[in-house]
């Protein structure tokens, strides 16, 4: 594990989310998640669609539907996001403490308003900047921070390319100087070149100090980035650490270099995911994940796992950041 000079920006402990369904059924969307994200660090949360990673993000933002029940804690800046009331979430968390970079930025922007109008409204809302001229200047500076071209500020969302819409969304997410950036599938549907560009930009925002628009440059500490993605190539490019989610549980938490390089992932599911890449073996993991409303008693991956034994009929505990009875051993460490 890398040395972390600062306390984590986000500390998640035992986070679980249950959806109460008609007829008394329960869906276990997230179960007992533990992880930290530090300043200047990017944690990529990877997994397939429906594995619970988006639910986890919604839980942090306080955007779960009414039939959801949460347990555990998620500490950010002295606040527990899971117990904070809606007023606190709306006024101090979303935008100010967590900058959200949404999946389809164009859909997130109001179609009848220009990017400049979005930027100015957000600056006025989230920063201390007052007065028309000052807001205008701060909005332009905020756009520039995300490399959004000034010449496009008076355009409407539909007049922007996918890449520029993504930059506009990123600029908006940065305005409040939030210590935590939460990017939800930021590269979905983008061309590979644009994917690389987008994640490099995100990385840059993690590497430079935060600070709200209008604050002196360099003020504040560095941001933390939690990126939720199914794009392994994007994750490899940006992440310091990787968290792998399967059937609502974090099955592995690893250093990104070790995970994508040698010795490689330790959990059989993570191994399978990497093996499926077209630049690797291009072989799928057999079968499909279990239903979150009908999970097995033992390991959730057992029916698909080539290493499964009788022991796997019991649920594996997380040891050394891997939840598996028979993990692949890091070469030369305990082989």
């Amino acid at each position: 594990m890398t040395q972390r000079p600062e306390p984590p920006v986000l500390a998640v402990r035992g986070l679980s989310v249950r959806f109460l369904m008609p007829g008394g059924r329960q869906v276990a969307a997230v179960t007992d998640a533990h992880f930290d994200v530090a300043a200047g660090e990017c944690l990529a949360l990877i997994g397939e669609s429906g594995c619970g990673k988006s639910v986890l993000a919604s839980a942090l933002l306080g955007l779960l539907p009414a039939n959801a029940r949460t347990a555990g804690r998620a500490h950010l800046g002295g606040l527990d996001l899971l117990t904070a009331d809606e007023r606190t979430l709306a006024r101090t968390v979303r935008g100010r403490m967590i900058g959200l970079i949404p999946q389809s930025p164009a859909a997130h922007l109001t179609p009848v308003r220009t990017i400049r109008s979005h930027m100015e409204e957000t600056v006025a809302q989230l920063t201390g900047v007052r007065g028309r001229a000052a807001v205008r200047t701060a909005a332009e500076a905020a756009a520039a921070r995300a490399a959004f071209p000034a010449g496009h500020l008076d355009r409407y969302p539909h007049e922007l390319s996918g890449g520029l819409a993504q930059r506009a969304a990123t600029a908006l997410a940065l305005v409040g100087g939030a210590p935590l950036l939460l990017a939800d599938e930021p590269t979905t549907g983008l061309d590979r070149d644009l994917v690389e560009h987008t994640v490099d930009e995100l990385r840059r925002h993690v590497d430079v100090p935060a600070g709200a628009a209008g604050a002196s440059p360099g003020a504040g500490s560095r941001r933390a980035l939690l990126m939720i993605t199914h794009d392994l190539t994007a994750a490899e490019r940006i992440a310091d650490r990787v968290a792998v989610m399967y059937a609502g549980r974090l099955v592995e938490l690893a250093d990104a270099k070790a995970f994508f390089g040698t010795p490689g992932p330790r959990h059989p599911y993570s191994r399978g995911l990497l093996r499926a890449l077209p630049e690797r073996e291009f072989t799928p993991i057999p079968g499909m994940p279990p239903e979150l409303g009908d999970l097995p008693a033992g390991c959730d991956f057992a029916v698909r796992c080539e290493r499964a034994t009788d022991a796997c009929g019991r649920r594996p505990r997380t040891t050394d950041s891997v939840a598996c009875h028979h993990p692949y051993l890091p070469e030369g460490v305990r082989a």
């Binding site: 397939e48 979905t188 199914h230 399978g272 072989t283 799928p284 499909m288």
Partner: protein, 236 residues
């Protein structure tokens, strides 16, 4: 053979996104068409799938020149082609159970009696269990719905498959599983494939041959520099 000759197509006759593009796919061949988003490759795929009438140019399918698109296409031609799109949710009726979704082409061609058996036959290798088949689109994941959309495309045993960015929303394992299912179908039926996408690594691994959109549009002297300029200028 699937032969596209000098196809010009788009949504505005003054600014077609496809200009004089020619492309041939041999029987049983898998061709990957690579290009950035918005370049016109999806429109070309829709022309090949009989879903979009070109402004000019010809499409010859197994020796037969195509004269009608969409509902004007003869049934025998329409059933020779299976299509899968990028976003399964946009291309499936939210009210239909997956089993009915897969059976749609069978019902539309009056083969209702065959439906149950054929659906079971298509669903099993794709991992679609009877429980999943009873559900509606909002009750399954993107990956599961895309599997159903592939099963639907294969329902009439097409000789040609057109796949437009079919894995762009999917994780690595689901992508590999979908490609494996398509390749299994092709190896048992000899169907040809036109796969459109922007992921070089994926299409090079998947297809027999890949062509880049730029090479296609500048070959045989048809330069299409207009494709690269913003819409506002090319519409001049």
């Amino acid at each position: 053979m699937l032969e596209l000759h000098a196809i010009t197509a788009g949504y505005d006759r003054r600014a077609p996104v496809v200009r004089e593009v020619s492309l041939t796919v041999e029987p049983g061949e898998a061709v990957g068409l690579l290009g950035p988003s918005g370049c016109g490759k999806s429109t070309l795929a829709r022309v090949a799938a009989l879903l979009h009438r070109p402004d000019s140019g010809t499409l010859v399918l197994d020796g037969e020149p195509v004269r009608g698109w969409r509902h004007q296409a003869p049934r025998a031609l329409r059933t020779a082609i299976g299509v899968v799109f990028q976003q399964p949710r946009l291309s499936s009726d939210p009210r239909l159970r997956l089993a009915d979704l897969i059976a749609e082409p069978l019902r539309a061609t009056g083969r209702r009696e065959e439906a149950a058996g054929r659906v079971a036959e298509l669903a099993a290798p794709l991992g679609l269990t009877p429980d999943l088949l009873r559900r509606r689109p909002h009750e399954v994941s993107d990956g599961q719905l895309q599997r159903a959309c592939l099963a639907r495309a294969l329902a009439l045993r097409p000789r040609w498959l057109i796949c437009d960015e079919v894995t762009a929303m999917l994780d690595a394992s689901t992508t590999a599983a979908l490609v494996e299912a398509i390749e299994h179908y092709r190896s048992t039926t000899g169907a040809g494939l036109l796969a459109v996408g922007h992921d070089h690594t994926l299409l090079r691994r998947w297809c027999d041959r890949t062509v880049h959109w730029d090479a296609l549009t500048s070959s045989d002297g048809h330069t299409t520099a207009a494709l690269d300029v913003p819409a506002s200028r090319s519409a001049r």
